[in-house]
Amino acid sequence: MKPPRRLLGTLLAAALAAGAALPARGEYADVVLNRRAEKEGVRPVVFPHWFHRIRFRCKVCHQELGFRMRVGTNDFRMADIIDGKFCGACHNNDVAWGPERCDLCHSGKPGLPTGIYGGHETNGPGRW
């Protein structure tokens, strides 16, 4: 056995173990934001599209507030959020509850990478 194969095997096993132990499903269109959060000692953020689209059209966030429609491309910083930018444009104790409710946003399972979740309809291969 050469080391690379072994490493691959271990990684595969680990990935499978992780994947199977916590099937990362989420509700369709949930976004996990974890560019910095976990490195800085807080849980990843889970942003639920379904919940917000019942209250706002896409346009409010993606045009008025200028969120780019590609996961991970917006540089959300906690300091900016507290200053009323990004999520803080609403989560300001005026439009919605404020930034002091850390655990409502920082509610993700540790270790989840940034990305969009809940997209798969079946447990098996894609319907393609």
Binding site: M1, R5, R6, L8, G9, T10, L12, A13, L16, A17, A20, A21, P23, A24, R25, G26, E27, Y28, A29, D30, V32, R43, V46, P48, H49, W50, F51, R53, I54, R55, F56, R57, C58, K59, V60, H62, Q63, E64, L65, M69, A89, C90, V95, R101, C102, D103, L104, H106, S107, G108, K109, P110, L112, I116, G119, E121, T122, N123, G124, W128
Partner: protein, 346 residues
């Protein structure tokens, strides 16, 4: 101990001495269970006679060799840890084989072929399986579904439990009605069980469960399983068009663009109406689409890669599996051309 064990293993395959049996069990739990407890990646599942039967039928030396050297179909040599002594790996194999004693005999091999037990791996949490070594009895004992049969099975590893393992679980599990379709109770999970929220976080339990929001909304078969177009059309939801101005109304543009599709698929009707209900022109023009009919080259491949319509469809708007919502215009003989564009639904 090592050389000792190797010799012993060679001589006493079936009746491994307690020490070695324990080593096999431990190694199984530590290294092999990751894949073999649930049958991930096609690994023969612990306790499943249907999975192991054909392999055992090919001869034990082959089975050991495959465990030691690995196979092209996904078994890593020594389970991915080349430092392991051969004897320990063999002991782990013996531990797995003990759970399916009797499989691979002609009688057992036949049903095994018909039922290549490949149930969805998500059914059992391997963490659970690995943490508590599975009962080294028949498969029936490891399955909650096997219920009473397992409970009443004798504790001694003898012929009857093996029969159970073949009859009950292979039928009940392998041939469950839906193999890949997500069962209804797993759709729209509540935050605490959705796999991405941390149940250990207090805030998680304060969050809303999707299903409690969806009551009364028109359903669909994909995505959030909500028909958002209808929900909005029937005024079941009233999302704001402006962050704070409740009076602001979207400027709806009712203009369909028909994209003729080569081949047999119905043509695509792209409706501006449903989109301008939610989106601003600048969300699509000009970054995603040049606002000119036919000026954009769109294909299913690009959509599936998350470009063009796939920027939203398959991520936030209804997914690509709903072909007919987009491919909504039947191909008609040229004479019918003069008619108004088909409505973009169903």
């Amino acid at each position: 101990m090592k050389t000792h064990a190797a010799t012993l293993a060679a001589i006493l395959l079936a009746a491994a001495p307690p020490a070695l049996a324990q080593a096999g069990k431990d190694l199984y739990a530590k290294t092999c269970a990751v894949c073999h407890a649930t049958g991930i990646a096609g690994a023969p599942k612990y306790g499943s006679a249907a999975d192991w039967g054909p392999r055992i039928a090919a001869g034990l030396p082959k089975v050991y060799a495959n465990a030691l050297k690995g196979t092209a179909k996904g078994m890593p040599a020594k389970g991915g840890n080349p430092a392991l002594p051969d004897a320990d790996v063999k002991a782990a194999v013996d531990y797995m084989l003990a759970a399916v004693k009797g499989a691979g005999a002609p009688a057992a091999a036949a049903p095994a072929k018909e039922a290549p037990a490949k149930e969805a791996p998500a059914k059992e949490a391997p963490a659970k399986e690995a943490g508590r070594p599975p009962p080294p009895k028949a498969e029936a004992a490891a399955r909650p579904e096997a219920g009473t049969a397992a409970a009443s099975a004798p504790a001694a590893p003898a012929a009857p439990p093996v029969q159970l393992a073949l009859a009950a679980p292979a039928g009940a599990e392998a041939n469950s009605f839906n193999r890949l379709l997500k069962p209804a109770e797993k759709r729209n999970p509540a935050p605490a069980d959705d796999g991405i929220h941390d149940p250990a976080n207090d805030g998680t339990h304060a969050l809303m469960a999707p299903l409690s929001a969806y009551a009364g909304l028109p359903r669909s078969l994909a995505g959030n399983r909500i028909n958002w177009v209808e929900a909005l059309g029937q005024k079941k939801i009233d999302p704001r068009w402006d962050r704070t101005d409740l009076k602001a109304e979207p400027v709806i543009m009712d203009m369909n663009v028909v994209r003729e599709v080569k081949g047999s698929m119905p043509d695509v009707v792209y409706p501006h109406k449903q989109h301008t209900e939610w989106l601003d022109c600048s969300n699509c023009h000009p970054a995603i689409f040049v606002p000119q009919k036919g000026a954009n080259s769109i294909s299913m491949a690009s959509i599936l890669l998350g470009e063009k319509c796939g920027v939203c469809h398959g991520k936030v708007a209804f997914p690509v599996s709903e072909c007919r919502l987009c491919h909504s215009k039947k191909k008609e003989p040229a004479a019918a051309r003069a008619q108004a564009p088909a409505p973009a639904a169903k």
